[in-house]
C-alpha cells in the first residue's frame, strides 16, 4: 500500500498541458500506471486520442522516450523496442534497468492491434501493455468497437426506431490475454487508485509480458458529465460491470468485491449513450445486460474459487 502523499511525490512522465479533453480517463490511467514503473520507461503509443493529443508538434507531453508507429502496430513496435534493449544489454552497451510500456485505446487494442498484441504476449516480451478502454473509437468520432458495451449508441451502431444500439457482447480481452499464459494480466479502474498502483507495480516486475486493461471514461462518447469521470469508474466497479481482478500465472484473484453489488442501471443511467434503454419497451434489454453482468461476475468468482 502506498499513500497518496508518496504517490504524489513520484515524478510525472506525462506532463500537464496535453490536449486531451476535460474529464478524459486516458491521462489519469497513464499517470497512475507509470507510478508503478519505478524505473525509466520507454513508451509505445498506438494511434488514438492519447497519441494525437500528447504529441502536437513541436510539443511533447512525454518526459520519456516515446514511439508511435502505425495504428495496428503498438504490440509489434513495443516488442522491437524491448528486444533492442535486450540485445544492447547483451552487448554490454546498456546496463541500467529500463521498463517498457505500450498504451493503446480499445480500438487499437481489441480490434486492429489485436494480432500484433497477441504476438507480443505469446513471445512473452518483458513489457507492459496497457489498454485504456473507453469503449469506442472516440478519436474518429465514436464508432463502435469490440469493446463497446451491448446497447450503447455509437455512430456506427446508431439507435433508431429499429436499432437499440450495439447488439453484440463486449469482447473479454483481459481473459483472452491471460489465456496466452503470460505472467500477469489485470483489470483496473482509476477510481481504485491503490489497487491500480499495486497492479502496475506487479505488472512492471512480472519479468515477462503483462497486460492491464483500464476502464477510461470518455465524456464525449459516453455522454456523461466531465466532472463524473471517477464516479463513472467507481460505478462500473460497484455494479460489477468492470470487475477488478488479476490473473497471475493463470490464477485468478478478485481484488475488490463490492460490499453491495449495485444494479447495472446505476452505471448505465448517467450515460447518454444508454438513454434509449430507459424508454418503454427496452426493459428486456436492460434485463439482458444485467444478466450478462451477473453471469460474468459469477463466473469470475468461480474461477477464483478454482484457483485456490
Amino acid at each position: 500500500m502506498a499513500s497518496l502523499k508518496e504517490l504524489s511525490a513520484v515524478p510525472e512522465v506525462l506532463a500537464s498541458g496535453h490536449r486531451l479533453c476535460a474529464g478524459c480517463g486516458a491521462p489519469i490511467v497513464v499517470r497512475q500506471i507509470l507510478r508503478g514503473a519505478k524505473a525509466p520507461v520507454v513508451v509505445t503509443n498506438a494511434t488514438g486520442c492519447l497519441e494525437v493529443s500528447t504529441s502536437v508538434y513541436p510539443y511533447s507531453s512525454w518526459n520519456s522516450p516515446w514511439v508511435h508507429t502505425a495504428f495496428e502496430c503498438a504490440g509489434a513496435t513495443a516488442s522491437g523496442v524491448e528486444a533492442a534493449y535486450r540485445s544492447l544489454k547483451k552487448q554490454g552497451k546498456v546496463d541500467k534497468e529500463i521498463k517498457f510500456v505500450a498504451f493503446g485505446g480499445d480500438g487499437g487494442t481489441y480490434d486492429i492491434g489485436f494480432q500484433a498484441l497477441s504476438g507480443a504476449m505469446e513471445r512473452n516480451h518483458n513489457l507492459v501493455y496497457v489498454c485504456y478502454d473507453n469503449g469506442a473509437y472516440m478519436n474518429t468520432g465514436i464508432q463502435r468497437s469490440s469493446a463497446t458495451p451491448k446497447g450503447a449508441d455509437t455512430t456506427t451502431s446508431p439507435v433508431g426506431k429499429v436499432s437499440t444500439g450495439k447488439r453484440e457482447n463486449r469482447k473479454d480481452l483481459t481473459k483472452i490475454m491471460a489465456a496466452h499464459g503470460i505472467p500477469y494480466a489485470a483489470q483496473v479502474s482509476p477510481a481504485h487508485w491503490n489497487d491500480l498502483y499495486q497492479k502496475a507495480e506487479k505488472a512492471f516486475s512480472a519479468g515477462g509480458a503483462a497486460f492491464i486493461n483500464a476502464i477510461a471514461p470518455c465524456p464525449r462518447g459516453w455522454r456523461c458529465d466531465s466532472k463524473d469521470t471517477i464516479e463513472m469508474c467507481r460505478l462500473a466497479v460497484d455494479t460489477c460491470f468492470w470487475p477488478l481482478y488479476e490473473i497471475v500465472e493463470g490464477k485468478v484473484r478478485v481484488t475488490y468485491k463490492p460490499r453491495v453489488k449495485r444494479p447495472v442501471v446505476d452505471f448505465l443511467k448517467p450515460q447518454g449513450r444508454f438513454r434509449h434503454l430507459f424508454q418503454p419497451g427496452n426493459e428486456g434489454l436492460l434485463e439482458e445486460i444485467q444478466k450478462d453482468v451477473d453471469r460474468n461476475w459469477e463466473r469470475l468468482l468461480a474461477e477464483e474459487a478454482l484457483s485456490n
Binding site: T47, A70, F71, E72, G107, Y110, D111, I112, F114, Y137, T140, G141, Q143, R144, S146, T155, T156, S157, P158, G160, V162, S163
Partner: protein
Amino acid sequence: MNETGPRLLQGNEACVEGALAAGLRFFAGYPITPSTEIAEICSLRLPQVGGTFLQMEDEIASMAAVCGASLAGAKAMTATSGPGFSLKQENLGFAAQAEIPCVVVDVQRVGPSTGMPTSPAQGDVMQARWGTHGDHEIVVLSPSSVMEAYTLTITAFNIAEELRTPVVLLMDEIVGHLREKVTLDAAGKLPVVDRDKPSCPKELYKPYGPGQGRLTDVPPLAAFGEGYRFHVTGLTHGEDGSPTNNPKVGERQILRIVQKIASRRDELARFEEISMEDAEVVVVAYGGTARSAKKAVRDARAEGIKAGLLRVITLWPFPETRVAKLREMGLKAVIVPEMNMGQYVLPVKRVIGDACPVIPLNKVAGQFIEPKDILEAIKGAM
C-alpha cells in the same frame, strides 16, 4: 431514395446515396478520417433497405468481407483513406485475381503513413493503380463535385458489375467533406447494371470460362448459395477455378483479366472539356483540384488567354487516346496541377512526349491548389 428536391449534401453522403441507387446491399468498413461518414451513413441507411452494415476489426478484414459478400451475390462496397487503403491492397489484388465485383472508396488525405488525417491530398493516384502486387488492370474514377460523387459511385458499381472487377472511387478530402446544394433526381434514373449470371446447367458452370452474356471475355458470376459449386482462389487458376502451374493456362488467365479492362480503355475513358477548341495552354486536372483549374481557365479566358481544361474523370486505365490528341493542337504547354509531388503528370508526359512542355504544379502539405496558382502557371507558360 427517400428524399427528392434540392438537398445540402456532403460528398461522402452523396457517395452513399449513389451506392444505394446502384443497389448497394453490403458495406464493411473501419473508421478512418476523412471517410468515416460513409461508414456512419451506411450503418443507418443499409438496414433500412434490407442491406447489411458490418464494422470489421480492421481494413484487411473489411476488404475480405466485401469480397465474400460480393461472391454471395450482394453489391458490396468499402470506404477508407490512405493508411487503410494500404491495408486493403492485398485483398484488392485478390478481388482483381478472382474477378470479384466491388467498389473501394478512398477519400485521400495527406500521407505517407498517418500524414495529415484531416487535410486533403491526391497522393494515392499511383497506389490506386499499382498498390497491389502483380500484373493487373484496375478502373479508378475521380469525382470533382458532390453531384459527381453521386453519379460516379453508380458508374463505379456498373463497371464493377459489368467487368467483374474491383473499381476504385478515388475521392479526396475536398470532395468528401465539401457540402453543395444538389438535386439528386436531376440526374434522372441512371442505368443500373447487374452482373451476368450463368445460364448453363449447374454442372457445366465455369466461373473463369468464356462469357455467356453481353461480353465474351467476362465470365458470368454465380452467387454462392444458388446451387453452383465453384472454386475461388487467389492462386492462378484455370477456367474451372482450380489452381494451376501450367504456364499456358496461367498466361491465358492473367492476360484475360488484364485485357478485359485494357482493351476497353477508350470506352471507359471519361473526361470533361472546357474551352478546349482553340486552347493554347491546356490544364489536365482531376478531383478537387479540377475545381480550381476550372476557375483558373475561366479567369484566363476573361483576360484573353486561350486556356482550356481537360478534366480527367477515369484516371485509370489512362485515357491514352484523348490525351494523345493534345499532341496535335500545337499547344504552348500542358499544365498538370495535383496535390502530390507529381504522379499523374508522369503518364501525361509519356503520351505528350516532346510535342510541348508538360509542367507539373504541386502542393503536398494539405493546402489545396488555388485558382490563382494555376492562373499564374498558365500565364507563365504563354
